[in-house]
């Protein structure tokens, strides 16, 4: 047995990895709870990969069969309805936890040097997660998903010079058609997974390279040097968190399965009361608020510019707040609170 182990180790160098796992520890302080958010995202991501592959066994990305194949999954395939429901709920949970993860890092200022690149790859992972949500929303091909995709892919059109080009790239033509379904499908199941795994690889490498960030306040307390071994102590607690989250997920999936409307009709008017997924609601409400002309400019263009600038500010936050890690940054903290409140307020408003 030992011989086999030594043979494998000579070839793969597993011992170094397991030594790293044994040595790694997690700082223990009043904010330790936020460290669980990262691994919770991985849990939901794993569920998405498995259920996504399962759904793709039966899904047909064509204008004729897309809706019918989802209906078949929901009604004929054994346990199909719950697999789709878990995929849909796990997507929601994943994006929710990604947002919580990002907020915890913004509030504890863990993005400061030397972790700027970790933050930026994290923001890209959020963008990729939203892109997953957006492309996945079209695939069932019902009224709602058609209208949401028409709006979403039309937004770039207001950008001067390249806008129409971007819209046509996203749609695979002038309009949302069957070509859009195949395009969204391959992006959803191939392009985005490749991208998210590549970025996630860099993100996780950077997390290991720089170690876990300890918030200022926590570091100054009496508990300064406390740490929890990653294996087995942290993993044990993490497993408990995973089991609870999995339980919540399956419960939600069973009792609140997503609906499926009749197949989308390209000629039908948009259904009343369309709303995007909850994580796009604040953008949806912002677009509604902007009048058609602002200071002689196209209102839509102004809205797109404001939201684009907002994304850039979030992405480049570590470069804006580049104070030494010991100092507090009040302005940034209030800005983060203000953005957070704005997003929550507009989301609630759009639901009223």
């Amino acid at each position: 047995m030992n011989k086999i182990r030594a043979w494998i180790n000579d070839r793969l160098g597993v011992a170094e990895l397991s030594k790293f796992g044994m040595k790694k520890d997690v700082p223990l302080h009043s904010h330790t709870i936020w460290y669980y958010t990262g691994s919770s995202i991985l849990l939901f991501m794993g569920i998405q990969v498995v259920t996504g592959v399962m759904l793709a066994f039966y899904y047909n990305p064509t204008i004729k069969d897309a809706n019918a194949s989802v209906a078949r999954i929901m009604t004929e395939i054994p346990l199909g309805w719950i697999i789709r429901s878990i995929h849909s709920w796990s997507a929601t949970c994943m994006i929710a936890v990604v947002i919580i993860h990002l907020l915890s890092i913004a509030f504890t200022k863990a993005y400061r040097a030397p972790r700027e690149a970790t933050w930026m790859t994290g923001v890209l992972l959020l963008a990729a997660s939203l892109a997953f949500g957006f492309t996945g929303y079209l695939l069932p091909w019902d009224d709602l998903s058609l209208a949401a995709t028409k709006v979403g892919t039309d937004i770039p059109k207001s950008i001067p010079v390249v806008g129409a080009w971007v819209t046509s790239l996203l749609r695979g033509g002038e309009d949302v058609t069957g070509d859009t379904i195949s395009r969204f499908f391959i992006v959803h199941v191939c392009v985005l997974p490749l991208a998210i795994f590549a970025i996630l690889g860099i993100h996780l490498f950077l997390v290991q390279r720089h170690g876990m960030s300890v918030p200022l306040k926590a570091g100054r307390g009496p508990e300064k040097n406390d740490a929890l071994p990653f294996w087995p102590n942290f993993i044990l607690r993490e497993s408990a968190v995973w089991l609870i989250l999995f339980g919540v997920l399956v419960t939600a999936a069973i009792f609140l399965a997503p609906s499926l409307g009749p197949a989308a009709n390209l000629m039908a008017p948009a259904p009343a009361g369309i709303k995007p997924e909850w994580y796009f609601l604040f953008m949806f409400q912002t677009l509604k608020l902007f009048p058609s002309r602002i200071l002689g400019l196209n209102g839509e263009l102004v809205a797109v510019a404001v939201m684009g600038a907002g994304f850039l500010l979030v992405l480049l936050l570590p470069l804006l707040d580049d104070r030494p890690a010991e100092r507090k940054g009040r302005v940034i903290r209030y800005a983060v609170y203000a953005t957070f409140l704005y997003t929550i307020a507009l989301t609630i408003w759009s639901l009223l």
Binding site: L169, G172, D175, D179, L266, P269, A270, K288, F290
Partner: protein
Amino acid sequence: MKLKYSLFSRREFLNGLLGGGLLAFFATLMGPVVRFVFPPYKEPDEVKLPAADYSGLQPHEAKGFAWGAKPGILKKAGDGSLVAFVAVCSHLDCNVSYLPNDRKFYCACHQGWYDENGKNIAGPPPSPLRRLAVTVEGDSLVIKKQG
């Protein structure tokens, strides 16, 4: 010949030549890739509809037709003439509906309103609905791009 001063060494120059050459090679491959991902699109020059299908329209009533992949709406105006619109909102591309009782076009996505002539009157739409020209040729209605 050996230069006395140089901005970069011979090694750096050769590295740049190789790296830049590879980069340029892959960049040229992007041309066909970009061309491939944009399918050709041509808006219909005209659409012919059987006039009989639309003969029952009362003034201020409307009926849909297909303008390529977009919906169109054919409406009988108050004076009995026929007008046609591309039934797509000028705001964010949602399909609009015609509400005969209100004599207005309505976009449900972001609550945009147009009057019966397709003029944007409320909500976010920045411009009127696109109009199409309608002519009667024998027993068919011919819808064409305007202007």
